[in-house]
């Protein structure tokens, strides 16, 4: 029998050195509090890291617009607009709006996930500007919006979409992203009110499907029954789509941009404070 004693297992994850912890504790002068802006940016950075670590979450954002664009262009193009090329020109700005707006639901889903996991407790116990976790998360989500928008435009170009002006396309993307920031606040509110991430996802899509389909994304409203046309005409999504179309082919009316931005401002004014309030009280 071997007489060599087995060394006690002091692996690296074994007993911790109290001195090391003591040293780590004593070496910390408290820094000055961060500004509201840098706290927001830190949370935005967190959102981007999450996309980096869980790239699957971009799959929805990229695949859905691809499917929509291909399906609707080739299925309805001939019937609705006489040719797929004509229809692509009509539908692309609409698909851009629709795909990017759908990704805003994820802002609510992410917030709800945070809450169910307990990480909000830590954020809420930090001495930071209180809305920072929310504003930062919504800012970080802009990466998703831009990815979705880019996919739609690039695929459109590959299929033969030729916009009148490149700055117009960029302006349309910017307008859609700005509107999405506002809409995201609606879903962060929903995210704090519902109990599970899946419920937020379902509620969000249940609301967005009718409101985006009952707009001028897919068809000109002229052929619709009067009551439906009336709804489509006042639907802010229609104005956002009309403004995006106008920006891309150079026929934009300031009125549509104004309505889109106005509705966005109103959504933010109502739902951003509401989200902040709920985050303080319910999270």
């Amino acid at each position: 029998m071997s007489a060599v004693p087995t060394a006690p297992a002091r692996s690296r994850s074994g007993p911790l050195a109290d001195q090391a912890i003591g040293a780590a504790l004593s070496s910390t002068p408290r820094p000055a509090r961060p500004s509201a802006l840098s706290a927001c940016l830190a949370f935005g950075w967190r959102g981007i890291l999450k996309i980096k670590h869980v790239p699957e979450q971009l799959l929805d954002v990229t695949l859905t617009p691809v499917l929509f664009l291909l399906m609707f262009t080739y299925l309805f193009g001939g019937a609705i607009a006489g040719s797929t090329g004509e229809y692509l020109h009509f539908i692309l700005p609409g698909i851009l709006v629709m795909s990017v707006l759908f990704t805003t639901v994820y802002s609510g889903v992410t917030l709800n996930t945070d809450m169910t996991r307990g990480v909000t407790d830590r954020f809420r116990s930090l001495p930071i500007w209180r809305p920072a976790p929310l504003v930062g998360a919504v800012l970080g989500d802009s990466v998703r919006y831009l990815v979705g928008a880019t996919v739609v435009v690039v695929l459109g170009l590959a299929l033969g979409f030729r916009p009148q002006s490149v700055p117009g396309v960029l302006a349309a993307i910017l307008l859609v992203v700005v509107f999405s920031f506002s809409l995201a606040w609606v879903f962060t509110t929903v995210g704090l009110l519902l109990r599970a991430p899946n419920a937020v996802m379902n509620a969000g899509f249940m609301a967005l499907f009718p409101i985006t389909f009952l707009s001028n994304v897919f068809v000109q409203p002229d052929t619709l029954p009067g009551w439906l046309k009336a709804f489509v005409d006042v639907n802010p999504i229609s104005h956002l789509v009309t403004a995006s179309r106008g920006l891309m082919d150079g026929t934009v009316h300031a009125g549509d941009i104004g309505i889109a931005l106005g509705v966005g401002a109103a959504l933010t004014a109502v739902f951003a404070p509401l989200t902040t309030h709920l985050y303080r009280t319910r999270a």
Binding site: I21, P31, L126
Partner: protein
């Protein structure tokens, strides 16, 4: 000086009074244990003191600041390690610590350096680049505590830091708490385990149904409960009635028959020698003993002694996300 002074804290959720008039006085630099079963009101008390919940009534000062009117100042001095590990599972360990460092005001470079220092001190340097969702429970808990001391807090709330951990991880967490205390950080520790409070705390408040029902040092508390129990298991359950007689005579105390048909227990005699003699008496009487243990009082026994009812879990546990929570002023 007192680090925590709470008087008559009350918090209800619907018709349940989760915290029903809690008073606490915790000396600065102490490790103070709040001991109680699930749903006793420990977490709600901690969440109020950490400014996450606003009390319905009553007042509390943490490090001299009012938890409602000076909530922001309190947040600047304390840190909280909640019952759920409050770290982001999707991020790596290092990213979690860098994020907290940034949020506390460090520059990017300082936050990175601090993260590396903490990972090393907590034995997580090899795992710093991995997503937290791949961590074991013990690693996650260590990271969680590391995140709480990115800037050394003057007071740290630890809510059931070892629930669900294996014994080795539990010992590591205990070492960390001792190191914190040695550095002068006041620790308020919630736990369900008397053993844990006994190991770490200088003072203990026993909480039941939203109220502090006993308070003192661990030894005072144990003395008030008695000396724990002598537990005996026989080889042959048939011999239990006879063993009961023998023990009752040898110990001069009441003997309890356990649910296990071969087991008996009795209050520990003040002199352990007498327990040894009682066991010897059993074998002299031809009763075979499978095993025996001389135990500290369990939380159950503490509860039974203090409240007259067992430490069962309350029917209504504290909700993780509550309907009724009210705003805490910024």
């Amino acid at each position: 000086m007192l680090a925590i002074e709470a008087s008559d804290l009350v918090k209800s959720f619907g018709s349940t009074r989760a915290v029903d008039g809690v008073n606490l006085a915790v000396r600065s630099g102490a490790v103070y244990g709040m001991l109680g079963p699930n749903g006793a009101g420990k977490t709600t008390t901690i969440r109020m003191l950490a400014t996450l919940l606003r009390p319905d009534s009553g007042t509390a000062r943490v490090l001299g600041r009012d938890i409602v009117s000076e909530a922001d100042a309190v947040r600047g001095l304390v840190s909280l390690t909640g019952q759920l590990a409050s770290v982001d599972e999707d991020l790596t360990g290092r990213e979690n610590l860098v994020l907290i460092g940034r949020l506390l005001g460090y520059s990017r470079a300082q936050a990175k350096a601090r993260a590396l220092e903490l990972l090393e001190a907590f034995g997580l340097d090899h795992a710093g680049g991995r997503q937290v969702k791949s961590y074991s429970g013990g690693m996650r808990r260590r990271l969680d505590i590391a995140a709480s001391i990115v800037v050394t807090p003057e007071l740290m709330f630890l809510d059931e830091p070892t629930t669900g951990l294996d014994p080795r991880s539990r010992n590591q967490v205990w070492d960390i708490v001792r190191a914190l205390a040695a550095q002068g950080t006041t620790v308020l520790l919630c736990t369900q385990y008397l053993d844990e409070a006994d190991q770490l705390a200088d003072g203990i408040a026993v909480i039941d149904r939203g109220k502090v029902i006993a308070e003192g040092t661990p030894s005072q508390l144990k003395a008030s409960v008695g000396r724990g129990a002598l537990r005996i298991r026989l080889l042959d359950p048939e011999q239990r009635p006879r063993a009961e007689d023998v023990l009752a005579r040898a110990l001069g105390a009441g003997v309890r028959l356990e649910a296990d048909p071969a087991a008996l227990s009795a209050a520990c005699p003040p002199d352990p020698q007498r327990a040894a003699e009682a066991i010897a008496e059993l074998s002299r009487s031809g009763i075979a003993v499978a095993d025996f243990a001389l135990g500290q009082p369990s939380l159950d026994e503490v509860f039974l002694a203090l409240t007259g009812h067992p430490a069962e879990e309350e029917a209504v546990a504290e909700p993780a996300v509550s309907e009724e929570e009210e705003e805490v002023a910024a």
